[in-house]
């Protein structure tokens, strides 16, 4: 199995995912830089270009990411599970859209609607994955709840483009500008067994605290509640709307003439933004640790 830094080195330098993230990056102060070289990342953290030091950090980072109990690989597998599910669901919806044009299969197309509740559950799974990955990568930093909350917002601030992409692609575009206000209402309509309709859930279930679908759903809803408190301020502060997101994406991807929901479906099916920025976020924390331990 490849280590986190090897995956970072293999990330694409230019494709749809990168272009979509660059577009969203224009909405966030500081923008977004596509860091795909482990050596550059290490030099950035260490503030030194000494090749022996860089090699030492790299060796230590690989050792850390191979150890199962350290959580870096486990966090990565959470992101992978969510990404796989997003692509499957998105692909199915694209198929349904295409099939909708053919008279014979029109009936079938009606079977796979991207209902708002499913979209809400999908978002809550992503937020849940984000929180679980945070604890896998960083542990429970600090001695008090205040320390932990500060650490969490520090992590979110560091990954502001990642959060903006999550908010735009999975909330504002498919659910409309009132998405965050509607989210709690939508999640309250979800039956525990509906979780099983999402492929990501199968990959994550063993890592979510609690036993059974009902406990897991409660955990996800609580996670979303916590996240909403932060996301409201984030969206308000940057003035994010679906319209703004589309305009930013058009700047890098080219003109779009369909609806917002279709754009969201298209992005779900053909980009890996969650995974791409996930590898970069984990790699940075891993290198910060390795640099301190050599």
């Amino acid at each position: 199995m490849s280590t986190i830094l090897e995956r970072l080195d293999r990330l694409p330098k230019r494709n749809l995912t990168v272009l979509a993230l660059k577009g969203i990056g224009t909405l966030v102060p500081g923008g977004w830089r596509n860091l795909t070289s482990a050596d550059d990342l290490i030099a950035d953290v260490l503030g030194s270009n000494d090749p022996t030091l860089i090699a030492q950090v790299r060796r230590r980072a690989d050792e850390l990411s191979r150890a199962r109990h350290e959580g870096y690989t486990r966090a990565m597998s959470l992101y992978d599970a969510v990404n796989r599910s997003q692509k499957t669901a998105g692909g199915l919806r694209v198929l349904a859209n295409v099939a909708g044009g053919l008279p014979l299969v029109k009936q079938m197309a009606k079977l796979t609607p991207a209902s708002d509740t499913l979209q809400a559950v999908d978002l809550s799974l992503k937020v849940g994955a984000e929180m679980l990955a945070f604890t896998q990568v960083n542990g429970l930093p600090g001695d008090s709840f205040g320390d932990f909350a500060a650490s969490l917002s520090e992590y979110a601030g560091e990954a502001s483009v990642r959060m903006a992409a999550l908010v735009c692609f999975d909330a504002l575009l498919p659910l409309g500008d009132q998405a965050l206000q509607r989210l709690d209402g939508l999640l309250s309509q979800v039956a525990p067994r509906e979780l099983r309709d999402l492929p990501a859930y199968a990959g994550m279930a063993s890592l979510i605290p609690g036993r059974g679908d009902e406990a897991h759903l409660t955990f996800l809803r609580r996670g979303v509640d916590t996240w909403l408190g932060w996301a409201d301020g984030f969206v308000g502060g940057l003035g994010l709307t679906g319209q703004k997101a589309v305009r930013a994406l058009e700047g890098t991807l080219g003109p779009w003439q369909g609806g917002f929901e279709q754009l969201a479906t298209f992005l779900d099916a053909f980009t890996d933004t969650f995974q791409h920025t996930g590898v970069q976020a984990i790699a940075r924390r891993l290198v910060e640790r390795a640099a301190a331990e050599i």
Partner: protein
């Protein structure tokens, strides 16, 4: 061999393998590769113990804890939104090779060996076991500021976490001998005495 016997043997073999797997599953975490350097968790000091030893934030600065793992704790020193330095304490028992750079220290701080790594990182080895490190970020810190930060850690408290080696202020080279057995064994030399 009769046919029934052959089938019986095959079934017994398969059943044995299955039962073996099921019995072995709970012990999966004992397999090598679970922890760094395959050290048992109990031999590495938990990062929680390090948190209270970090420097207190000065006016206009904040300390945000970012990682806490077994044998490791890290925080960022920030002024406003700007990260100025990474502060970390780690237990070198899972990374013994990290101790080698302290073998010929040029400088000492409160008696502990101090080493520079590149232009932005200073490391201190406390009680021959715990590494304290300050790495300047962004516009960076000069050497003096980094040393001042290192001195602001509760080094005495940190040394107290390793009672065995608290009074040895010179690092010992890493060896395969586990800690606690590093002293050379002195065999009693027989003294020849004239027979009475």
């Amino acid at each position: 061999m009769s046919r029934i016997l052959r089938w019986g043997l095959a079934l017994v073999l398969i059943a044995g393998l299955l039962i073996g797997t099921v019995l072995f599953l709970p012990f999966r975490s004992w397999l090598p590769g679970g922890t760094v350097g395959d050290l048992p968790k109990s031999e590495v000091v938990n990062g929680t113990a390090f948190n209270r030893l970090f420097p207190k934030a000065q006016a206009g600065e904040t300390i945000v804890f970012t990682q806490e793992k077994r044998g490791f704790s890290e925080a960022r020193l920030k002024s406003g939104a700007q990260t100025r330095a990474l502060l970390a304490i780690s237990d070198t028992s899972s990374a013994p090779e990290a101790r080698n750079k302290f073998l010929s220290p040029v400088q000492r701080l409160q008696g502990w060996p101090l080493v520079e790594q590149g232009s932005q990182a200073s490391a201190l080895l406390v009680a021959d076991r715990f590494q304290v490190k300050v790495i300047g970020q962004g516009s960076g810190l000069d050497q003096e500021q980094r040393h001042e930060l290192l001195g602001a850690f509760d080094l005495a408290g940190l040394a107290a976490l390793n009672p065995g080696a608290a009074n040895s202020r010179t690092p010992t080279p890493t060896s395969a001998i586990p800690p606690g057995q590093r002293q050379p064994v002195i065999l009693p030399t027989p003294v020849l005495e004239p027979a009475a």
